[in-house]
C-alpha cells in the first residue's frame, strides 16, 4: 500500500529537495544582488545630487566683507545735534561710504574710475552703516571702522569664481578693480565672513543683500494653512469614506475621482486657485492664504489615499472586539481604529506636506512669484516661497545667484529631510506604545 518504502522505488524526498535547493538559493542570491544594486544606484544618484548642490552652494554661506574707515560727519548725519532718529535715518550714508573709498584710494580722480571704485562695495553698504550709527549714536563725529559687504562681483572674485586670465571684456570685473581688491587684500581690509544676511534678509536685486528669510516665512505661513486644511479634511474624509459610508456605486465613484485628482498636474490646481479663490472669491494675490488653499487642494488626495490605506490595514478583529463590548461605531473608530491608523496617516500627511513645500508651479499661477523683499508678517501679506525663490534666483544672470540658488536648495532639502525625520519620529512614537 505504501510504495514510498518499496525496494525498487526509493523515493527520497530529501534528495529531491536538495536538488531544487541549489536553484532556489541561486534565485534568492540573484534577487538580493539586484536589490543591493538598486539601493546602491539610488544612493549613488542621491549623493551625486547632494554633492553637486553642496559643492556649488556651500560658498554662499560666506560673503566677502570690506573693512572701511568711515568718518561719521555730524554735519551730514545729525546737523542740528538733536539725535532725532528720523533725521539720522534719512542721512546720506552711501555718500559717506563713497567718501571713505576715495580716501582709501586717493589716486582715483576721474569720474569713470570713481564709478568703478564705488562698485567695489555693495550698494547696500550704506544700510549697514546706518544700522551701526543708529545703534550707537555716540560715534557721530568720530571715524569708525566698519565691515560692509563687498559687491557680488568682488565676492565672486574672492571666491575664485572669476578667471583672472580671461580678457577684460569677458568678465564682469575690470583689471583696475582687481588691482584695487588685491591692494585691499594686502592691507587685510577684505575677508570672507559668515553670511548672516543670507538667513535674515528677503530677496534683493543685489545678490550680496539677498536672503531666504522672506521665502522661509512665506513657505511657513503657506504650509500652516495647507497642513490645517489638508490634514483635518483629509483624515475626516478618509474616516468617513472608509468607516461610515456603505460600499456602493457612489462611493466607488468618489474613490475613483479622488485617485484621479491625485494624478492631476499641480499647475492645474494653480489655475483652479486663480479662478476660484482670486477671481471668484476675490482673495488677494500672492498671499500665503491662497497659496495654502491651493496646496491643500493639491495634497488632499494624497492624504486621503494614504489615510484610507492606513485605515484599511487596521485588523477587523479589533473592530469586532470594540463593537463586541458595546462600543458605538464612532467610539470604535476614535478609540481603536484611528490610533492604530495614525502612524500611516501621519506618514501620508508629511509626504504630502513635503510635496507641498517643494511645489512651485501652482503658486506661480496665483502670483506668488512677484519680487517681494520683505518677510510676510501674516497670512495675507504678499510673499513668496522657497521653491519659487529658487526658481527666481536660478533665473537671475548674476554669477553670485548661482551659489545662492544652490544654497537655497540646500535649505529646502534640509527642511524636507527634517520633515521626513519628523515623520519617522512620529511613527515610532505612536507605534512604540504597543
Amino acid at each position: 500500500m505504501n510504495n514510498r518504502g518499496g525496494a525498487d522505488m526509493p523515493v527520497d524526498t530529501t534528495q529531491i529537495i536538495k536538488r531544487t535547493l541549489a536553484r532556489r538559493y541561486r534565485r534568492e542570491a540573484r534577487f538580493r544582488r539586484m536589490g543591493l544594486f538598486a539601493v546602491v544606484l539610488g544612493l549613488a544618484f542621491l549623493s551625486l545630487l547632494l554633492f553637486s548642490i553642496v559643492s556649488k552652494g556651500y560658498t554662499a554661506f560666506w560673503q566677502t566683507f570690506v573693512l572701511m574707515d568711515v568718518h561719521l560727519d555730524a554735519g551730514v548725519i545729525d546737523p542740528e545735534g538733536t539725535l532725532d532718529q528720523e533725521v539720522m535715518f534719512a542721512a546720506d550714508y552711501g555718500g559717506m561710504i563713497k567718501a571713505s573709498l576715495r580716501d582709501t584710494f586717493p589716486e582715483v580722480t576721474q569720474r569713470r574710475e570713481k564709478r568703478d571704485l564705488y562698485r567695489l562695495v555693495s550698494s547696500g553698504a550704506g544700510f549697514y552703516l546706518r544700522e551701526e550709527v543708529l545703534q550707537n549714536p555716540d560715534a557721530i563725529g568720530k571715524t569708525i571702522q566698519i565691515w560692509v559687504p563687498a559687491d557680488d562681483d568682488v565676492d565672486m572674485l574672492m571666491k575664485g569664481h572669476f578667471d583672472r586670465d580671461k580678457p577684460e571684456e569677458d568678465r564682469r570685473i575690470k583689471d583696475q578693480q582687481i588691482a584695487w581688491v588685491d591692494r585691499l587684500v594686502d592691507q587685510n581690509r577684505i575677508e570672507l565672513r559668515f553670511n548672516t544676511t543670507f538667513f535674515t534678509a528677503g530677496d534683493s536685486r543685489e545678490p550680496e543683500l539677498a536672503g531666504i528669510w522672506a521665502a522661509v516665512c512665506g513657505s511657513f505661513f503657506t504650509l500652516v494653512i495647507t497642513l490645517l486644511l489638508a490634514f483635518t479634511m483629509g483624515v475626516a474624509t478618509a474616516v468617513y469614506l472608509e468607516e461610515f459610508t456603505p460600499k456602493n456605486r457612489w462611493t466607488d465613484l468618489i474613490e475613483v475621482n479622488i485617485n484621479n485628482l491625485a494624478a492631476v498636474p499641480s499647475i492645474v490646481y494653480g489655475l483652479l486657485g486663480l479662478a476660484v479663490f482670486i477671481n471668484f472669491f476675490g482673495l488677494p494675490r500672492s498671499v500665503p492664504l491662497v497659496g495654502g488653499l491651493v496646496l491643500a487642494l493639491m495634497t488632499l488626495p494624497t492624504i486621503i489615499i494614504a489615510s484610507r490605506a492606513a485605515l484599511k490595514s487596521v485588523p477587523p478583529s479589533i473592530r469586532d472586539a470594540a463593537l463586541g463590548v458595546g462600543a458605538s461605531k464612532t467610539e470604535m473608530v476614535f478609540h481603536h481604529v484611528l490610533p492604530q491608523a495614525m502612524p500611516g496617516m501621519l506618514t501620508g500627511t508629511i509626504i504630502g506636506m513635503a510635496q507641498a513645500l517643494g511645489e512651485s508651479a501652482p503658486l506661480l499661477m496665483i502670483g506668488m512669484v512677484a519680487f517681494i523683499a520683505d518677510a510676510p508678517g501674516g497670512f495675507t501679506d504678499p510673499s513668496t516661497v522657497l521653491p519659487v525663490q529658487i526658481y527666481l534666483w536660478a533665473d537671475s544672470p548674476e554669477r553670485a545667484f548661482v551659489e545662492r540658488t544652490s544654497a537655497a536648495i540646500m535649505i529646502l532639502l534640509a527642511f524636507l529631510f527634517s520633515m521626513n525625520g519628523l515623520a519617522v519620529l512620529l511613527r515610532k512614537r505612536f507605534e512604540r506604545r504597543w
Partner: protein, 276 residues
C-alpha cells in the same frame, strides 16, 4: 423526521429537519427560521432554537458547520461583515433584535461575546478590561474601574499571572492568556447573555476548569451559549446541546440525552467519533 421508518429512534441520515425539542419553557432569546448567507453561500439554514433563561446551551458540530455564524447573529455582530445576510426572527424578551429601531450598542452590552480568535485591543491589559466599563460608565472612579478589572481578571483565571504587568500590552500575552483576557473583557460589562466561541480552545486543563467554573457562576444569573469542540466540555457545562451539521440544526436536546441517546444518525456519528 422519518416517522415511517421501522426504527423510530433512528432518523434518516438525509433528513435535515431538527430532531428534538428546540423550545425552552422560559426562553430568553427565541430564534425562528434563521438563515445566514455569505454572498451566495448559505452558512446557516432555517434554524429554530430557544435560549433559555439561566441556561447553558452548547453548540457543537464539525468545523465549518455554521456555529460561529449562528452565534454572531445573537448580538448582531454579523452586521459588520460585508456581504453577510441574516434572515429569520430573533426575539429577546419579546423584542425583535433585528428591528431597525433596536439599539445595537445596548444589545451588545447586554449580549456579550468572546470571539473564536482572541482579539485583545492593542492597549494595556488593564485598558483591555477597563474599556467596556469605562464607555458604559459602569464605574465613576478610577478605584471602581480597578475593582472591576481585578474581579473580571480573577473570574477569568488570569489575575495571578498578570497582576504585576497590568500595563503591558494585551497583545504580548500568550494565546491562552489572550483568550482569558477576552473572557475577562467580555464579562467586565456584566452582560446578561454571554456568547462564547470556543473560549477554551487554547487552554490547559486547569485554565479550562477555571473558565468552566466561571460559566457555572454566570449561569446562576445569566444565559450562556458556548461553542465547543470538546464533547466532554459540552457534557460538563451545558444543560442543553445543539448539534449543527453543514448549516442545519440537526438535533437539540438535554445534554445527557444527546450524548447518551442521540436520535439522529449524524449526531450519533459525530458523537461516537465516526465523523467530524
Amino acid at each position: 423526521m422519518n416517522q415511517g421508518s421501522a426504527d423510530k429512534t433512528r432518523v434518516d441520515r438525509t433528513a435535515r429537519k431538527t430532531v428534538g425539542d428546540f423550545t425552552h419553557p422560559d426562553p430568553r432569546i427565541t430564534c425562528r427560521n434563521v438563515s445566514v448567507h455569505y454572498g451566495d453561500k448559505c452558512a446557516v439554514r432555517n434554524v429554530d432554537l430557544d435560549i433559555g433563561r439561566n441556561e447553558v446551551i452548547a453548540l457543537i458540530g464539525p468545523s465549518g458547520c455554521g456555529k460561529s455564524s449562528f452565534l454572531r447573529c445573537l448580538n448582531r455582530m454579523n452586521d459588520t461583515i460585508e456581504g453577510c445576510r441574516v434572515s429569520g426572527e430573533f426575539r429577546m424578551d419579546g423584542n425583535d433584535l433585528y428591528d431597525p429601531d433596536m439599539d445595537v450598542v445596548l444589545l451588545r452590552a447586554q449580549v456579550g461575546i468572546v470571539f473564536q480568535k482572541p482579539n485583545p485591543f492593542p492597549k494595556s491589559i488593564f485598558d483591555n478590561v477597563a474599556y467596556g466599563p469605562r464607555i458604559h460608565g459602569l464605574a465613576q472612579t478610577r478605584a471602581g474601574v480597578e475593582e472591576i478589572v481585578e474581579t473580571s481578571l480573577k473570574r477569568a483565571g488570569l489575575w495571578e499571572e498578570v497582576k504585576d504587568y497590568l500595563n503591558d500590552p494585551g497583545t504580548s500575552l500568550s494565546g491562552g492568556q489572550q483568550q482569558r483576557l477576552c473572557v475577562a473583557r467580555a464579562i467586565a460589562v456584566n452582560p446578561e447573555v454571554v456568547l462564547m466561541d470556543e473560549p477554551c480552545s487554547a487552554l490547559d486543563p486547569i485554565a479550562t476548569a477555571r473558565i468552566e467554573e466561571l460559566i457555572d457562576e454566570l449561569s446562576e444569573l445569566y444565559s450562556i451559549v458556548i461553542v465547543t469542540h470538546s464533547m466532554q466540555q459540552a457534557a460538563r457545562v451545558s444543560e442543553r446541546t445543539a448539534y449543527f451539521h453543514l448549516g442545519d440544526l440537526i438535533e437539540v436536546g438535554a445534554t445527557d440525552e444527546v450524548f447518551t441517546k442521540p436520535q439522529h444518525k449524524l449526531t450519533e456519528d459525530y458523537i461516537t467519533g465516526r465523523f467530524g
